[in-house]
């Protein structure tokens, strides 16, 4: 039980995530991908006569069950399988973030920024609301996210997914290295 309660190393977690791909294929010809569920939610709840949301979303309802499972899995792992404690990141990352103004390293997210109280601040608004918007807009524009392109797409040798994944990384580097230092000062 102690081994399960510790954080899992990459060489355990990565291969397990990889096995989700054949599991979904064998269980029903489903391709691994999360961001399409955001489109599903739009189609189910707020289609607003937009052609992009006028399709038979119920046919792909399996992925809504899949994300419900992710929420339940998160609940189980966080409450039954974890020893709470700060994430053991590289001290260099900690030092760099401290220099840029982050003080609370105790949770999974920096509480300096991500909190309901923080929503009323410009910084919190940018990180949560603008950030979330970019994730939802960008993934659909790109036709997939880390799961659909980086893992499912590349592993099935689809070069457009490799292009998309490289762009994810470029966008992340630009944000982290060039823009984030200013946003953390807000």
């Amino acid at each position: 039980m102690d081994i399960i309660k510790q954080p899992w190393p990459w060489y355990v977690a990565g291969p397990l995530i990889g096995l989700i791909v054949p599991a979904l294929l064998i269980l029903g010809n489903k391709t691994f991908g999360i961001s399409s569920t955001l489109r599903q939610i739009c189609a189910a709840c707020i289609p607003a006569n937009i052609s992009f949301f006028k399709y038979d979303w119920k046919k792909d309802a399996w992925n809504l069950f899949f994300i419900a499972g992710i929420v339940i899995g998160g609940l189980i792992a966080a409450h039954l399988l974890s020893d709470p404690g700060p994430v053991a990141i590289n001290p260099k990352t900690t030092a760099a973030l401290q220099q840029q103004g982050i003080t609370d390293f105790s949770g999974l997210l920096p509480r300096d920024i991500f909190s309901f109280k923080g929503l009323t601040t410009l910084k919190g608004f940018v990180f949560m609301v603008i950030g979330g918007f970019l994730v939802g807009f960008g993934t659909r524009y790109a036709g997939g996210c880390t799961s659909g392109h980086a893992i499912m797409g590349i592993s099935s040798l689809q070069w457009p997914s490799l292009v998309a994944t490289c762009c994810f990384m470029i966008g992340g580097f630009v944000m982290t290295w060039l823009i984030l230092p200013y946003l953390l000062q807000l």
Binding site: R39, G74, N90, G131, F137, G144, H149, V163
Partner: protein, 136 residues
């Protein structure tokens, strides 16, 4: 009932995301600052294992549990992959979460992530609204 199995697979995915700390904003920062191998190792080894599995499925003509042939649809390139990919990358480094981890964070009790998720749904909705006017 036929969707119960997808809840179970999702649960496994959610547990792995939490236990490997993929859902931590700090881990994503480490990745983009090139200060840890952790995230690269996870994504890289997931790709390798999935690739081997797909080769085996094709090589041995493995079928689904309903005896259907397994088909992986091809992705056709358009420039949206580039523009959208860059935009998602910006958001990924800000929120420290791609869509899967958003759901896992909420499950783990970080309720403020519902705001990020609602905003992501809004982003997808606005994409749908503007789709015909955007370059692809």
């Amino acid at each position: 009932m036929k969707n119960l199995k997808f809840i179970l697979v999702g649960m496994c995915f959610g547990i792995i995301l939490i236990k490997s700390e993929v859902i931590s904003w700090f881990r994503i920062q480490e990745m983009f600052r090139l200060q840890s191998f952790h995230m690269y190792g996870i994504i890289g080894s997931a790709i390798v294992v999935a690739m081997i599995a797909i080769v085996l499925i094709k090589r041995f003509n493995i079928k689904t549990i309903h005896q259907e042939p397994i088909v992986i649809p091809d992705k056709k390139f358009n420039w949206g992959y580039v523009y959208g990919g860059l935009i998602f990358g910006l958001g990924w480094a800000l929120t420290g979460a791609c869509p899967g981890p958003l759901f896992a964070q909420i499950g783990s009790g970080i309720l403020v992530t519902t705001v990020t998720l609602l905003s992501a749904i809004a982003g997808t909705w606005v994409y749908g609204l503007l789709r015909e006017k955007l370059p692809h």
